[in-house]
Structure formats: C-alpha cells, structure tokens
Symmetry: C2
Subunit: 402 residues, 2 copies
C-alpha cells in the first residue's frame, strides 16, 4: 500500500473499460446482495439508472424488471470499481480511471454528481437523470481532454498537500477539489475550445467541495488492490457497505467477503430529518479508511469533525490516535501537521481489531431510507466487529491454526 | 476592522488609479526614506523599475539618476497602496484593486511575480524585467477580464476558508491561491478566447503558492485604513518596513509614522546562504499581521511554522495565543479550527504592547542584503518595541495625558 503510485489517467465510458458491463448489468456498492434484500435508496438508484440507460421507460417499469430478475447485480469491487453511497455504475456512465503505476492495476469510479438530490443517495427524478446525461456527454469528455493533454495527474502529492489543508478525503475534499482544478485548469484552457462549455464545467466542479471524493475512492482502491491475496496477511484490503450488510475483505483470504448487518451512523441531520429517516451505513467510500484516509485522518480536519458531530479539535486528534492501535504502519508520505507530521495510520490488522475490540471508525454521508429522497445528514459509524471476527477465523483455518 | 467587506474588483494600470503616480515617481515599502539610506535590495529594485519604465537605458544609468535626485520616492502607504518586500510600484505596473464595500475605500498592490529572482527581492536583470512586462501586457488584462465578468470577488469568505485550510495569508497562501483559481476559472474560461494565453496565465498562477499574497495585502490595507484617525484610539493601523526602518501608524495619531531600526529575522535559509547574507526586515506585507493574519494566525498553519523554523504544531498554537495578549478583539468570522474555532487576535493595542513588553511577531521572507540577488530565506521577526513606545507617548501628548 505504501509503495503505490496512483495516477488519474483518464475519464472514459464505463462500458468501454469494465469487462462484462453490458446491457442490463448493474454494479452496486458493498458486498453482493440481491434485489429483495436491497435498501430503499439502492433500489431507487437502480430504477433511475435503468431509465437513464433506456432499459425502461419509467421508474415503475424499471422496478418491475428488477423484481422480474431482468437485471444482473454485482458489487463494483468485483469489477475493479467503487461507487459512493448506492454506487450504481452502468455502461454509459463516464468513470475516472486510476492507474497505480507501481503495480500496473487500474480502477474506476463514476463522476461526482454534486449535492442535493442525486442518484448516489437514491434520487432518480428527471433533474437527477438530466444531470447524469450532462456528466456523460459534456463534463466527462472535457475532463478526458484535459487529463490526456496533461498526460495524467499523479495523486500522491496532491493527497499530501490536501492533508496539510484540512481534507481527510472522505467527508471533506475541499482542498483537493481546489487543487484538482488548479492542476488541470491550464490543460483544460489549452484543449477545450468552447469557452462557454469549459466555464460551465469549471463552475460545476468548483461548486462542489466533494467533487474530488470520486477520485480519492478509486485511488484508494488502486492502492489496496495489489495487497490482495498475500498468503498469511491479516491486513484489510476492502471495506464496503450495500446499505444492508457491511463487508470486508482481507489480504490472506483473497476475494472472500466477511459480512455483518450495517449500523446506523451517529451524526448531524439536515433540517427536517432525524435518525428515524436514516438508512443504515451505505457505500464503497470507506475504501478511503481502508488505506488510512477518512476517519483515520480526522486529526487533519477539525472542520470535518464539527460537521459530522464528532466534537472538538482535540477529539479529532483522538480519532486518529485510536486508529493507530489497530493498524500496522504509519504512512511516511501522508502526514498530519497537527500531530507534528506523524504519518497516517495505515493497514488495518484484523488481529489487532479482534484483540482490542476497537473497530475502524468511518466518516460517512447518511442517505434517507426511502428511494428518491437523497442525503439527510452526515456522521460517524463503526465497522461491525463481527466482520473482523469471521475474517480472523477464516484466516486461521486457512493457515491451519486450530 | 471587523465590519469590513473587502472585494477584489479589478486589475488596472497603477498610473491610471493612483493619483500622482507619474513619470519618475516611485512608491516603496515601509515608512519614508531617501535614496542614501535605502537598503541594497530596494536600490536594486528601483534601478530595475527605472529600466522597466524606460526612464533609464541601463541599471547603471538608473543608479546615477537616483543618486542625482531625479526620482521622487514615497511610501506605498501614502498612496493607498502596499507592496511586498521592496514594494516598488511604478506607473506601468498592473495592480490588484480592492474595494472595502462597507466603507467605500480602495487599495492597490502589484501582481505577485512568482519565486526565484524577482524585483520585490531586489532582482533586476532581463529575466526579471521580461516577466514584469508579461504581467503588465498579458496576465493583468486576463485577470481584469475575468474579474469584470465575475463582478468582483468578495474576499471575506475566501479568507475564512483559507484559514480552515492552513493558510496564515502571509508566508502561506497555498489554499487561497487555489481557491482564487477555483473561483475565477469559470469566468476566465468564458471571457478569454485565446486558450494558449489563458493556459499560460493559469499555469503561472498555479505554479506559485504565494500568488494570493498580493491580494491578501491590499485587502488587509483596505480593512485597516477606515480605522485611521479615530480620536483617542490606540489601535495600530499599519506596520511596514523599508529594510532600514520599521514604522507603525496608530489610529489616534493619524498618518504619523513611529519608527525604529529594522531587526534581522530569525529563520531558515536557502542552501548556500546564512544570516550574514540577510537584509534587515523589509516590506509592507506585515499589513497582514496588522489585521490578525500572518504570524497572528500561526495556529492555523503548523506547516508554515516548520517552514519558518518556528517549531512544532504546539509552538504554532502558542504564537497565536501570545498575540491574544496584545490585541483588543477576536474576529468572529475568521477562526482557527485547531483552537476549536477561536477567532483571530485582531487590533493591536499599543497600550498592551507597552504594558506587556510583548511586540507583534511577523512571518516574513528574507532578502539578500545586496541588490540583484533575491530571496535567501524566510523566518520570524518582531516589531521593534521602540515604535510602540514612541507612538504611545505621542498619543498621550495629543490627548493631554501628562
């Protein structure tokens, strides 16, 4: 993980780069799940995506097709991808492509749709779908032109700078979104002739502090994936939630998922909403915590601690310190100014989790439990202990430990 | 000061907006000074500016003209302007124009030239002058077009965000430079048709973390100026250094300067240089400390504390805490996440300085003491105690206090 060299290389049509992502195939967040057990927002996003792709004329028709088994559902993680919240990925969506140049692997994630009513939170009305079409037809190609002109954007240094600017890269991406614009703007100016379209693209990106999240996520997966399948390793290589179940993967047990029911985040709610409206924990975005960002980097971001209802600046330091107890390294290149440039806690060791009883904390958005509503808040949630216990038993069995 | 509403409204030719800035007039940093007593870098910058303006053909000829009394020298501060380091401002340079919309006053500052050999540090060779010509003929007009299309850029919110991203706005402007690009890029894309020129402009700005300093400085002056001339007020309204003398102005004593010899900063030196090469403290940039930024905001920026040789993250907090002892308010809108969102110490009270013996600390660049060399380091310096003592005596006399 520490040897990774992630580079944002392109923006491409998902169906062109993800093998098997054809008609009626839908990728979703978290471990495997069938339609019947999916949460409300995931069902809502699936219906929206079916209309977006032209597989159904209406949301109702889409739901009937889903119930009738006409769609094939798979985790993003099985296809080299990740997606925030519901995480629905279909063939005509544009995706960021990350290449880990130290290991040669590639990963993908859809573009961030902005705030408010959006597909990733289960939104699926005309406004949501219209924005998704614009992402595919206008913003995606503009970003592709800029990235190609630049020859790719190395991310390791940008994350290091973002950490010194208060981003933990999960719920706060204000700095990295700004740095992304700063790095890409010269190439965009030179490669996009239509000033009006370019202006619209730059205003859209600049209007959303979370735009960079959808780059940080596949970057994190590109860093974690090469660590999969190391014989005897007890390091977590993925954490992900489908809104019903939380799943983890561990290096020494390959691609197996170890799951437990998702918990409800503790957090701050938007006006008019409360915990009663909250869907259980959802999304692939906790791949950021898997490599030491997000809640693990809370010390860098007292601002996000306040936003999530996680307390004061001193409390923010304690979140990071607690994660030092369950990880096996500190990242020498990604450091925290407020802890006198100590490295991020990196590489969750399931043995340490089981031994201490302390599970990873996760900074997360909170979706409404019903389809079509959207985000209702943001907060903190813990990965369920049972995932780690099951994984440790499986690893021990595999290694012949009685 | 707290009621100010500074807006970056335009980029304009200095001679068009600064009354009296005509042929052979040179504005400089700090309190008034004549040629004979000026420091090396200021003399170097003056000779460079004379060649730039076409008043002299060579640097030697420029020096002879200066010695012969052909140039008229005045502080930037007497003309509504400020300038970093040597601070030389002449008629054909482009300047940022700030309007404090709460009070209607305007202030000005030249564009930041980037790092390395530059006029503000006393550089004056062809490379330096060529860059200054490009700032006037290409970058300035591009920024003007973008700002006019945007209708001006309000700065109060940008500073608030920058503080949450580790800028103290004097020696660290990494976040605000990024936010400036992010805010302006859409308008630039729509108003600048030549993509190659726009790309060059965006790359130049993005290549220099200190670009925003030359916006923060006139913003600070626009905030401080309306506080001048309040009967009986003991609040400092300007601090500035010409490299020979440090001067302060105090509200209740109007436009009088109280001066003392400049000190040598304690800091970190670039390879090959040491304190023996350092010019005494120089520049108008300590207008940022005058309104609570810079060293007063050190707590927000452990990264800059390290850069300046000022110690650890805990030390950074202590710099800000110390300035609470000599100021009369905390800014409710500009806050420091690491101090649980305490407001910046604002409004230096000369009575508190004299009573405690604690003078303002200043984060500063360090120039070589000779003309034509440039920056040799960065560090911390204190405002001389004698300035505050003299000002307090003058204020007391004016108020009839025996």
């Amino acid at each position: 993980m520490l040897a990774a060299d992630p580079v944002l290389v392109d923006v491409v049509r998902a169906g062109d780069v993800i093998d098997g992502l054809g008609k009626h195939v839908m990728l979703h967040a978290g471990p495997p799940i069938d339609w019947a057990r999916m949460c409300g927002p995931m069902k809502g996003a699936i219906c929206g995506a079916a209309v977006l792709e032209g597989w159904a004329k209406t949301l109702d028709e889409a739901e009937q097709m889903a119930v009738g088994g006409e769609f094939s559902f798979h985790p993003n993680h099985h296809f080299g991808a990740v997606g925030p919240m519901t995480g629905i990925t279909t063939q005509n969506m544009m995706v960021f492509a990350i290449e880990n140049r130290a290991f040669g692997n590639r990963t993908y994630c859809t573009l961030n749709e902005g705030l408010g009513k959006v597909l990733r939170y289960g939104g699926n009305d005309d406004e949501v779908l219209e924005r998704l079409r614009w992402l595919s037809t206008e913003l995606g190609p503009i970003l592709a032109a800029g990235l190609q002109a630049l020859g790719g954007l190395p991310l390791k240094g940008i994350i290091a700078r973002g950490l010194a600017m208060g981003d933990e890269m999960h719920q706060r991406n204000a700095a990295c979104t700004s740095l992304f614009i700063r790095e890409l703007a010269p190439s965009l100016a030179r490669s996009v002739a239509d000033g009006e379209k370019l202006g619209r693209a730059l205003a859209f990106i600049g209007g959303n502090d979370l735009f960079f999240l959808n780059i940080a996520m596949p970057m994190a997966k590109s860093i974690a994936d090469p660590a999969m399948g190391i014989e005897g390793s007890s390091v977590v290589t993925a954490m992900a939630r489908n809104g019903t179940e939380f799943g983890i993967r561990v290096s020494g047990t390959g691609d197996a998922w170890f799951t437990a029911p998702c918990e409800i985040p503790q957090g701050m709610y938007l006006p008019g909403f409360s915990e009663a409206d909250a869907n259980p924990d959802l999304g692939d975005s906790t791949i950021t915590e898997t490599i030491g960002l997000g809640s693990f980097a809370m010390a860098t971001s007292p601002a996000v601690a306040g936003f999530l209802g996680a307390g004061s600046a001193a409390d923010a330091l304690n979140y990071t310190r607690a994660m030092l107890e369950i990880t096996c390294a500190q990242n020498p290149e990604w450091t925290i100014p407020a802890l006198d440039f100590a490295g991020l806690p990196t590489g969750i060791d399931i043995r340490k989790v089981v031994e201490t009883g302390s599970t990873p904390t996760i900074n997360t958005g909170i979706a409404h439990r019903e389809a079509g509503v959207g985000q209702v808040g943001a907060g903190i949630v813990r990965a369920p202990f049972a995932c780690f216990e099951k994984a440790l038993v499986a690893l021990a069995e595999r290694m012949g430990v009685s």
